[in-house]
C-alpha cells in the first residue's frame, strides 16, 4: 500500500468581491506516493499545486475527498493523531527569507520543536541529534548555529529547514518550490541533497513550476492545470513521450541552452491544440464563476447545475500567443446575479459548491503502463 494516497480531493475556495464567487482550486485529484518515492507536481501559477501541498500538510481543509497516510485518513485526525502525523510529514516552502523570523536566531526553528517532540531528551542527546541532522544536510554546525537568518545564504536557510524536518522521523517531505528562490549555483546542492535523502527512503512531494527540475529529481510526475490532473506517470515516460497537448506545449516553452524556441511550434497557453487530429474543445474549464470578468459567460451558460461556464471560447488567437485576458467587462449593475444580490441565499451557495464538487474533470486513461493522460471532453 502506498504511503500517501490522495483520493479525489476537491477544494473550492470562495473568491471574488464580497466572497460571492466560488473557485475550484482542485478538482478530483487522485494520486499516491510510495515510500522513498519522489513525485513531482508540476503546474503553472494558479494550477492548485500549492493548495494540494497545504492540504497534505493539513494547513487547508479539503472540500471533498480524502487523504490517507499509511492507511489513516488524515482529514479526521485530532490533536494527538495530528501530533504524530506531523512527526512524519513536514513541509519546506518557497521563500527561505520569509520562513524565518528575522528578530530571532535561525536555529530557533530547532528549539521550537524541542518542547513539543523532544522534551525527554537530555541536553547532550539533543545536541547529538541536532548535529547528526545538520550533517545529513551537509551543513557545518559552526557555520549555521547561533546565527541570524540574514547571516546565512538562501541555500543554507533552506537546508536548515530540511534539517528541522529530519529531526523528526519524517517519512514524507512536502517541498513547495523550495529551490525557486535560490541561485543556480546553490540550487543544485539543495537538489542533490533531496536526491540523497530519497535514497535513504524519504518520500518527497516536489512541487514546482520548473519542468527541468522536476524531471531531474522525480520518479513520477503529475501535471496539473487549473486544478485538474492532465497527465501523470513515470517521469521518463511523461517527459519522453508526452501525450497531452498541454504537457507538450509546456515542454516546448522551457528555455534551453542549446536549442532555440523557434524550433518548436508556438505555445498555446489555453491548450487549444488539436488532439489526434480532432479539434478538442478549449479544455480549460473556467471554474471562476460569478467573476466580474467572465460575467458574460455566466449569463450565456444558463441552466442551474451548470451555472458556471465550462467553455471559455476565446476569440481569435492573440498576436503573440499570449495567455488570455479578461473579456469585455459588463457593468456591475447589468449582472443579474451580482455577488451582493446573492449574498443572503446560503442555499444557493451550498448548491453551487455541491455542483462544483460533483462536476467531474476529464477522465484519466492509461495509455501505456504507468502513464495516464486526461481524455479531452468531447461534444
Amino acid at each position: 500500500m502506498s504511503m500517501l494516497q490522495i483520493d479525489r480531493v476537491t477544494k473550492v475556495y470562495k473568491s471574488g468581491t464580497f466572497g460571492g464567487g466560488m473557485k475550484a482550486a482542485l478538482r478530483q485529484v487522485s494520486f499516491d506516493i510510495d515510500n522513498g518515492e519522489v513525485v513531482a507536481l508540476i503546474g503553472e501559477s494558479g494550477s492548485g499545486k500549492s493548495t494540494l501541498g497545504k492540504i497534505v500538510l493539513r494547513l487547508v481543509p479539503v472540500t471533498s475527498g480524502r487523504v490517507f497516510f499509511d492507511g489513516q485518513d488524515i482529514v479526521m485526525l485530532k490533536k494527538g493523531g495530528l501530533h504524530d502525523y506531523y512527526k512524519q510529514v513536514q513541509g519546506v516552502f518557497q521563500d527561505p527569507f520569509s520562513s524565518y523570523n528575522p528578530l530571532y536566531k535561525a536555529d530557533r526553528v530547532f528549539e521550537m520543536l524541542r518542547p513539543e517532540y523532544f522534551s525527554h531528551l537530555s541536553h547532550q542527546e539533543w545536541e547529538a541529534k541536532l548535529d547528526s541532522a545538520l550533517a545529513d544536510v551537509s551543513l557545518n554546525p559552526g557555520d549555521v548555529l547561533n546565527k541570524f537568518p540574514h547571516q546565512l545564504s538562501g541555500g543554507q536557510q533552506q537546508r536548515l529547514l530540511v534539517a528541522r524536518a529530519l529531526l523528526l522521523d519524517v517519512k514524507l517531505l512536502i517541498a513547495d518550490e523550495i529551490i525557486s528562490m535560490l541561485d543556480a549555483s546553490t540550487r543544485v546542492d539543495v537538489l542533490n541533497l533531496l536526491v540523497g535523502l530519497k535514497k535513504r527512503g524519504l518520500g518527497i512531494l516536489f512541487i514546482t513550476h520548473d519542468l527541468s527540475l522536476g524531471n531531474y529529481i522525480s520518479d513520477r510526475t503529475v501535471i496539473l492545470r487549473q486544478g485538474v490532473v492532465l497527465e501523470m506517470g513515470l517521469t521518463p515516460k511523461v517527459f519522453g513521450n508526452p501525450q497531452h497537448s498541454y504537457t507538450r506545449s509546456l515542454l516546448t516553452a522551457v528555455p534551453q541552452l542549446h536549442k532555440r524556441w523557434d524550433h518548436a511550434p508556438a505555445v498555446q497557453h489555453d491548450g487549444v491544440v488539436p488532439v489526434n487530429g480532432s479539434a478538442a474543445r478549449p479544455s480549460a474549464p473556467t471554474t471562476a464563476i460569478k467573476d466580474f470578468t467572465s460575467g458574460s459567460d455566466v449569463a450565456a451558460a444558463g441552466g442551474d447545475s451548470r451555472r458556471y461556464s465550462r467553455s471559455a471560447t476565446h476569440p481569435a488567437r492573440k498576436p503573440l500567443g499570449l495567455p488570455e485576458g479578461p473579456g469585455p467587462r459588463p457593468s456591475l449593475m447589468d449582472l443579474e446575479d451580482a455577488p451582493w444580490r446573492r449574498r443572503g441565499s446560503r442555499h444557493d451557495r451550498v448548491n453551487e459548491q455541491k455542483a462544483l464538487v460533483a462536476d467531474l474533470p476529464p477522465q484519466l486513461v492509461e495509455c501505456e503502463e504507468g502513464h495516464y493522460v486526461a481524455v479531452e471532453y468531447q461534444g
Binding site: 527541468s212 516553452a253 522551457v254 541552452l257 503573440l320 495567455p323
Partner: protein, 332 residues
C-alpha cells in the same frame, strides 16, 4: 556604437563603508543588439542596470563614463539625467508586476509619464493602443486598474509604458524571473519583437537565468562580485565558455531530459565574497577549482579570442600554451 560604458564604478554607501557593487566595468553595445547580463544575486548586475538610468540616494558614482549615441550621460547627476530618461534610456524595473500605481488606471499612468516628458497623451494614444494590441492586451486596458490584470499582463503593460517614447536603450531587469514557462517565452519573444520593430535600439536584459538569455540575447556578459568575468556572443558563452565561473554556472543548470541517475549536477561550493572588503586578486579564486598562484593578482579583462573577452589567468596561460587548438575553436 549605441552604448559605451567605460570603467564604471558604483558603490553603495553603508555605515561600515562603501560597498563596491560595480567595480571598473567596461563594455559596449551595438545598435540592435540585445545584451544579456547574467550572474548570481549580489554580483552587481541590477546595480549596473539601475545606475544607467537612476541612481538611488545610497548609490555613489565612483568614476567612469557612460556614452549613449555619442552623448555622455550624466549618470551621477539625477536632475541632469532626467531629460534622458524614457527618451534615451528606459527601464522595465525588477518587480515590474508591482511597479504600477494601484490607484491609477493604466491610461492615467501613461498620461502622467508622458506629461513629465512634455508629450501630449493624445498624440501618442494611437500608437500606444497599437502596441497594446501587439502585446496581446485587450484594447480597454488603458481604462483598467493594475489589480484587474494578471501578473503576466501587468508585466506586458509595464513593457509598453517603458517603451512609449522609443528609447535608444532599454534595461529589462529580471523581467522573466517570476513568470511561468509559457508566459516567460511570450515575454522573451516580445522583447525580441520590440527590438525587431525598432521600438528600442538596443537592450540590456538582466537575469540570473542563462537559459533565457540563450534564447533571446545576442551577446552575454557574465558578472561576478562586481567585476566582469566573460563577454562573448550568446552562442559562444553557452557552447564554449572559457571562464571557470561561467563553465560551473552552466554545469549547474538542469536541462529538460537530464535525470540525476544519468548525470549528477554539481553546484559551485562556497558563496560570493563580501563586497565591503573584497578579496585581492581574482574574486572567484576561493571557489575556483583551477586557482593557482598567479590568481593572487587581479586578472585583466582581455579579448583573448575574437569577440570573446575573459578575465582569467588560467585561460590566458592555456592559450599561451596551445594557441593552435584555441585558434581552431575561434574559427569555429
Amino acid at each position: 556604437m549605441s552604448l559605451k560604458v567605460d570603467n564604471l564604478r558604483i558603490a553603495y554607501r553603508t555605515l561600515h563603508g562603501d560597498v563596491g557593487a560595480v567595480d571598473g566595468v567596461s563594455f559596449s553595445i551595438q545598435d540592435g543588439e540585445i545584451m544579456g547580463l547574467a550572474g548570481e544575486s549580489g554580483c552587481g548586475k541590477s546595480t549596473l542596470g539601475n545606475s544607467l538610468i537612476f541612481m538611488e540616494g545610497r548609490m555613489k558614482h565612483g568614476g567612469g563614463t557612460v556614452e549613449l549615441d555619442g552623448k555622455t550621460l550624466p549618470i551621477g547627476d539625477s536632475r541632469a539625467m532626467n531629460q534622458y530618461r524614457m527618451r534615451d534610456v528606459s527601464i522595465i524595473p525588477q518587480y515590474a508586476m508591482s511597479a504600477l500605481n494601484p490607484t491609477k488606471k493604466i491610461g492615467t499612468l501613461a498620461a502622467d509619464l508622458l506629461k513629465s516628458r512634455g508629450v501630449r497623451y493624445k498624440s501618442v494614444l494611437e500608437e500606444l493602443k497599437r502596441r497594446i494590441a501587439l502585446v496581446g492586451l485587450p484594447d480597454n486596458v488603458v481604462d483598467m486598474y493594475p489589480f484587474e490584470l494578471s501578473g503576466g499582463m501587468r508585466q506586458r503593460a509595464t513593457m509598453v509604458l517603458s517603451t512609449m517614447l522609443n528609447p535608444s536603450l532599454l534595461i529589462a531587469d529580471e523581467v522573466t524571473s517570476a513568470l511561468d514557462v509559457s508566459t516567460q517565452r511570450a515575454v522573451g519573444e516580445m522583447l525580441m519583437e520590440f527590438r525587431d520593430r525598432q521600438f528600442v535600439k538596443s537592450m540590456i536584459v538582466i537575469t540570473h537565468d542563462l537559459s533565457v538569455l540563450a534564447q533571446i540575447a545576442d551577446s552575454i556578459l557574465v558578472m561576478y562580485a562586481g567585476k566582469l568575468a566573460e563577454k562573448a556572443d550568446a552562442r559562444t558563452v553557452v557552447d564554449n565558455p572559457l571562464h571557470p565561473y561561467t563553465q560551473l554556472l552552466l554545469g549547474s543548470l538542469p536541462e529538460v531530459g537530464l535525470r540525476y541517475e544519468d548525470a549528477a549536477l554539481v553546484g559551485i561550493p562556497g558563496r560570493p565574497p563580501s563586497l565591503l572588503h573584497p578579496p585581492s586578486g581574482c574574486r572567484f579564486r576561493a571557489r575556483c577549482p583551477f586557482a593557482f598562484d598567479k590568481c593572487a593578482e587581479e586578472p585583466p579583462f582581455l579579448e583573448l579570442q575574437r569577440g570573446h573577452q575573459v578575465a582569467c589567468w588560467k585561460v590566458m596561460q592555456d592559450m599561451a600554451k596551445e594557441p593552435a587548438v584555441q585558434g581552431q575553436n575561434a574559427s569555429r
